[in-house]
């Protein structure tokens, strides 16, 4: 038996150590899972965590890491601001889709005009699309006190239906021989988001992610709005006493996270995905929730966590093709990571004291 004792002051050591402990525990538990699935756990873990960075195909996979990490970081940065303030936008997947549809829609509407202005306008449209989608739960929360978790999540399903309609209907490639999916942006220069250097994986999305992380860091460390976000999450009544307007904060945090998710969607659909298709989204909006928590809702942590999560995607795909590991195993692995993180997190605020028999 053991009991928990609240620490007078949160432990700085455990604040930084818990993600590392969680990753190690996940490797152990994941290894057991992989062994159960009949694969060699050490080989799988090496394939996931080592090969993409240092292995034979690292020259290609490193780029892929950046491709996957970019949207995860961008979305997670936005989510983390809301999560810090106790505002739970979990519909980033929907905002991501809507950003992509609106941004791509703007580009496709002016096809085949070539102008330098087109891409920036699409970027703004993408951000606005995500922002607007996030404003629905935000406005409903502030006006009617509706639970933002449920509304933002319901809107994911709605966005997915709109995406299906877009790729088979209003955005379908008229020259696509009836196949679902929009025109491919890689053949429409003004509206595409190519890699800066072939194989680098770096495109505007990656740049935007790093800029967002930097700005979020400054906001949280140095700016009064960042202070208000943290204060609202930790002590809502104290935040009101300080003078925070809860409604304005909801609008701000939801809007920001929606806009960033929309941006991520636009960069993805014009870059790596290449077109609006019924399944261009691969769940980044949900995985970003894990990234946000794994990064301790801290911008620097999120950048690291984004790369770690990208590693599980890229390495997981490798393990799937080379060693026959089921794709779902990686999803389980990611879920475990979040569980272990939430579990060991208790050490930041509590001390564990073991009770032995005979001890009072």
């Amino acid at each position: 038996m053991f009991i928990l004792e609240k620490r007078p002051t949160p432990s700085r050591f455990w604040l930084y150590a818990t993600p590392v402990v969680a990753v190690l525990l996940t490797m152990i538990a994941g290894g057991l899972l992989f062994a159960l699935l009949g694969t060699n756990p050490f080989a799988v873990i090496k394939t996931i965590f080592w090969d993409p960075i240092f292995g034979e195909f690292a020259f290609y996979l490193r780029g892929q890491l950046l491709v996957k990490a970019g949207p995860l970081i961008l979305i997670a940065i936005g989510l983390s601001l809301g999560f810090r303030a106790g505002i739970w936008n979990i519909g980033a997947e929907g905002q991501y889709i809507m950003g992509a549809i609106v941004g791509a829609g703007v580009g496709l509407a002016v096809y085949p005009t070539e102008s330098r202005l087109i891409y920036p306008v699409m970027v703004i449209a993408g951000a606005l699309g995500g922002w607007a989608w996030a404003m629905i739960p935000a406005i409903l929360k502030t006006k009617f006190n509706t639970n933002e978790i449920l509304v933002s999540l319901m809107l994911v399903y709605v966005a997915q239906t709109i995406l299906a309609k877009a790729s088979t209907g209003f955005l379908r490639n008229p020259e696509g021989a009836g196949f679902p999916g929009s025109r491919n942006f890689s053949s429409y220069k003004a509206a595409s988001n190519p890699e800066f250097f072939a194989g680098s994986g770096l495109h505007w999305g990656g740049i935007a992610a790093l800029v967002a992380a930097g700005l979020a860091y400054v906001l949280l460390q140095r700016h009064i709005v960042g202070f208000q976000i943290k204060l609202t999450g930790q002590a809502p009544r104290a935040a009101k006493f300080h003078g925070v307007s809860p409604n304005r904060l909801v609008m701000l945090c939801m809007g920001l996270s929606g806009a960033l998710a929309g941006l991520a969607g636009l960069f993805e659909v014009t870059g790596p995905a290449g077109q609006i298709s019924i399944d261009f989204n691969v769940g980044y909006g949900f995985t970003a929730i894990i990234v946000a928590f794994l990064g301790r809702l801290n911008p620097i942590g999120i950048v690291l966590a984004g790369f770690l999560m990208a590693l599980t995607y890229v390495g997981g795909e490798m393990a799937a093709t080379n060693m026959g590991l089921p794709a779902a195993a990686i999803q389980v692995f990611q879920g475990m990571l979040l569980f272990f993180l939430l579990g060991v997190d208790v050490l930041t605020n509590y001390r564990i004291r073991l009770l032995f028999r005979g001890t009072r």
């Binding site: 409903l140 449920l150 999803q331 939430l342």
Partner: protein, 310 residues
Amino acid sequence: MDFGSINPVILIASLMVAAVPIMLAAVGELVVEKSGVLNLGVEGMMVMGAICGFITAVETGSPFLGFLGGAAGGAGLSLVFALLTQVFLANQVATGLALTLFGLGLSALMGQGYNGIKPPLTPDVPFGPLAQIPALGPILFAHDWVVYFSVAVIAVTWWVLKATRLGLIIRAVGESHDAAHALGYKVNRIRLGCITFGGAMAGMGGAYVSLVRVPQWVDGITAGAGWIALAIVVFASWRPWRVLIGAYLFGGITVLQLNLQAAGSAIPVEYLSMSPYLITIIVLVIMSSGKGRAALNAPAVLGQNFHAAR
């Protein structure tokens, strides 16, 4: 378009079936929330119940054991939630989300090799001649046992919460864990029990999806039913009988939009299929904007963890 092809008797009979998964999951979650715990992992527990129930039923050939297996699967996953939130005091919102992400992954993993298989059929309860009564027969006396069971669970939950000491203690724990603790109640243990019950009900609801509603296994089969169940708890303002109404309402919408699609309605299919989610949002808005005494049914310490300091 042919509205005439939509038979109201069949519509009502089939909405009762369509409502079962969300009704079971919602009544389970209602008990969880009454004890002051917000478990957002309903979707994950449902999908775990769906696969565990499916596997059990296929392997044993018994749909009844399948439902038990589904309940066990949901309850098993809910124990992870209980461990994290009640012992390690993890944030309930984050843990619930993790539960859903994890459940979707684990169910997909477990379901490999079960795609395309038909589960054993869950037969209707034989009511004999009663089922032949026009209109009433198909509505009331032509269902499998789970349909009746789900209504019974509502009734029992209502009675337990309203009239028994156990129900009083659950409500008290959700109203003020500090006061309950001061009177000597084991807050976290009571919550553990409620969480497990909620998990079992969600799991059974999930099993109903894969064994009766669909009936086969596909990844992510519950398609947001768990989230709708959460919304129904709010809609019901934490009252069991209103869960029944809410579940029938949503069951009705689901069945109706499918019927409209089949009948070749002028409304595009996409808009029909997003209608349950949109209507959920509208209902949430209506229920949340009402202020005052109705809100009193909401457990006062919902979502807060309890740690006995001294």
